[in-house]
């Protein structure tokens, strides 16, 4: 495997998550970059990994980008097309080995908020910013055997304590998940656009584990609200392989997810569908 020379941050993030997917994983996958990561994993090192979507699609093989967790491509050439309650039930039962989720705000124990930003005098019922809510994120954070969090590292988003826990990380520290009655292990990693965080086995706090090329420790510390610990094994993130990049660029050839501007808001219906058709016609499924 040769390493690629140049790639975008989104591509780097996707390759980092892809590497975490093992051949025997059953993965609860969300749309956007996690989806690209899943597709890359199954088309490179983890062909047996099974991607599960919240709407009920299991093990799809598609030429098209799913736009939602229940879009038509989530059951294209699938192994099973079942119910939302069924796939979440399978997760609660312990069949889902990995979940990938994101959020608007995360704290040092990996708790995520995707519900409300309260603002100065806001309340839950009348917040400054209303966000989508849990969707399936709370369920994934509660019961997937391990979870990965994906979020861009921005000032004010990595906080000491989230305003609202939508999806539980380690709550207030060691032993708290178990006390609350949660099955899953909790978050194992936070993948950002500058670095990767892991969680300390003892304190359950987020620690800096790997830096992207050119990023400094101080820069990361300034963007995090608590006194961030740095792993003694601090390393640099490995760039994507040529093989990974080829897979993601084939699947998302329009760059809809991977930070290209081909899909403009002003694009006409005709242009859009011409592009989409070229994109999926370039993909050859083999299974």
């Amino acid at each position: 495997m040769t390493q690629a020379k140049e790639c975008s941050t989104a591509e780097l993030m996707a390759s980092v998550v892809a590497r975490q997917i093992r051949n025997d994983d059953v993965v609860f996958i969300g749309v956007g970059i996690p989806l690209i990561a899943g597709i890359v994993a199954v088309s490179t090192h983890a062909p047996e990994a099974i991607l599960v979507y919240e709407g009920g699609g299991i093990g799809a093989r598609t030429r098209r980008i799913p736009w939602t967790i229940s879009d038509n491509p989530t059951t294209d050439n699938a192994l099973a097309a079942t119910q939302m309650w069924r796939v979440f039930g399978d997760q609660q039962r312990g069949f889902i080995t990995l979940g990938v989720i994101g959020g608007a705000e995360v704290d040092r124990f990996g708790n995520l908020n995707t519900t409300v930003i309260l603002g100065v005098d806001g309340t839950y019922a009348r917040p400054k910013v209303r966000l989508p809510g849990s969707g399936g994120a709370n369920d994934i954070a509660s019961s997937a055997l391990r979870t990965i969090i994906m979020m861009r590292l921005q000032k004010g988003k990595f906080v000491n304590r989230v305003q609202y826990i939508t999806s539980p990380g380690y709550l207030t520290g060691p032993g708290e998940r178990e006390k609350a009655g949660l099955h899953g292990t909790g978050p194992v990693m936070v993948v950002t656009d500058r670095c990767i965080f892991a969680f300390d086995d003892q304190t359950k706090e987020m620690v800096l584990r790997n830096l992207y090329p050119g990023v400094k420790v101080e820069e990361v510390k300034q963007l995090v609200d608590w006194d961030l610990a740095v792993s003694p094994d601090l390393g640099e993130v490995k760039p994507p392989t040529e093989e990974q990049l080829r897979a993601m660029r084939t699947f998302d050839s329009m760059g809809l997810i991977l930070e290209k501007k081909t899909a403009k808001e002003s694009e006409s219906f005709d242009d859009f569908f011409k592009h989409m058709r070229c994109a999926y016609e370039s993909i050859h499924l083999n299974f």
Partner: protein
């Protein structure tokens, strides 16, 4: 039970008859198979004070909220997702525009189990989600108790029994035996939990065709109150095996919804200014609809079951 033909009606009749002001309403599908045409009609008939119950609903919930039809949502997720923000949901919760909106939240699995409890005729279901989160802090109807058999804490969610559910499916017969292709969401349970169930479908097929693939029948006719044939009911959202998502149309709607004025004029153009869903489809254009259909057919469609031996 009414005779098969007695269940068939128009969209206007179904909404007029089954959606009363103050009713609780639920939709089948999640992004795929959401009954957009029903939202357009409910907005057009200016229904008010509805309670909308859902796990995840995207554009069709936004339309109901923007239309001032909803006073309360019981939900896990309302947004437009990937394409843009849930601007109408935001305006209602943050600013009370066009009206105040109460929110009672749960998770997707929690809501799924609320429908399952309703479908099983049980008062509640236990889940191992929600525990330790602030969803419980702000939703008093979720109760935490210790498993009486010694398994530790569980969260209880109450049964959901919507007054009316609209479930859009690929095909059904006139009696309402409803076949779904692709993801099922919670539709099998929703159909059993709701007090009235309106099946909208892309196609009406003979019962003899239903019998060829009985595993596809997610909803048997005894759950169904009425049947309405509505091709392209989900536009601009997709229906597996029938048509793909019309992304540029959704982008236009989201762009309009950035301001209240924008969405009001969008709704004037696409809902209030049109007589019915047929007029909407005419405005979208038959060529455009044929294209989204073609894009789906080229990728995936329901396999044909032949009559051969």
């Amino acid at each position: 039970m009414p005779g098969a033909d007695e269940k068939c009606m128009t969209m206007e009749q179904a909404v007029d008859h089954f959606v009363r002001d103050g009713y609780s309403v639920a939709y089948g599908g999640i992004a795929g198979r959401e009954p957009m045409a029903v939202s357009y009609e409910i907005a057009r008939q200016r229904k008010r004070n509805l309670i909308f119950i859902t796990a995840t609903t995207v554009d069709s919930a936004e339309i109901l909220i923007a239309g001032g039809c909803v006073k309360r949502v019981e939900c896990a997720y309302i947004w437009v997702g990937v394409i843009g923000r849930g601007n109408n949901y935001r305006r209602a919760v943050e600013k009370g525009i066009p009206n105040d909106l109460e929110v009672e939240e749960c998770s997707n699995f929690g809501m799924s189990m609320r429908f399952m409890a309703g479908a099983l005729g049980l008062p509640f279901m236990p889940v191992k989600s929600l525990l330790g989160s602030d969803i419980i802090t702000h939703n008093p109807s979720i109760k935490v108790m210790d498993d009486p058999y010694g398994g530790g804490p569980v969260a209880l969610v109450p049964a959901a029994r919507p007054d009316v559910a609209f479930i859009h499916v690929q095909r059904a017969d006139k009696a309402g035996n409803a076949q779904i292709w692709g993801m099922l969401g919670n539709d099998d349970n929703l159909a059993r939990a709701a007090k009235a169930v309106i099946i909208t479908c892309e196609e009406i097929i003979p019962t003899s065709e239903i019998r060829k693939i009985p595993n596809m029948t997610a909803i048997p006719s005894y759950c169904v109150t009425a049947v309405v044939k509505v091709p392209f009911c989900s536009h601009p959202l997709p229906v597996s095996g029938y048509y793909w998502m019309d992304i540029p149309f959704r982008r236009g709607m989201v762009a309009a919804s950035k301001t209240r004025k924008g969405i009001v004029s969008w709704m004037d153009e696409w809902i209030y200014g049109l007589k019915d869903f047929e007029a909407y489809k005419e405005k979208v254009g038959s060529e455009r609809l044929a294209r989204v259909q073609q894009m789906e057919f080229e990728n995936y469609r329901i396999p044909h079951i032949s009559d051969k031996e």
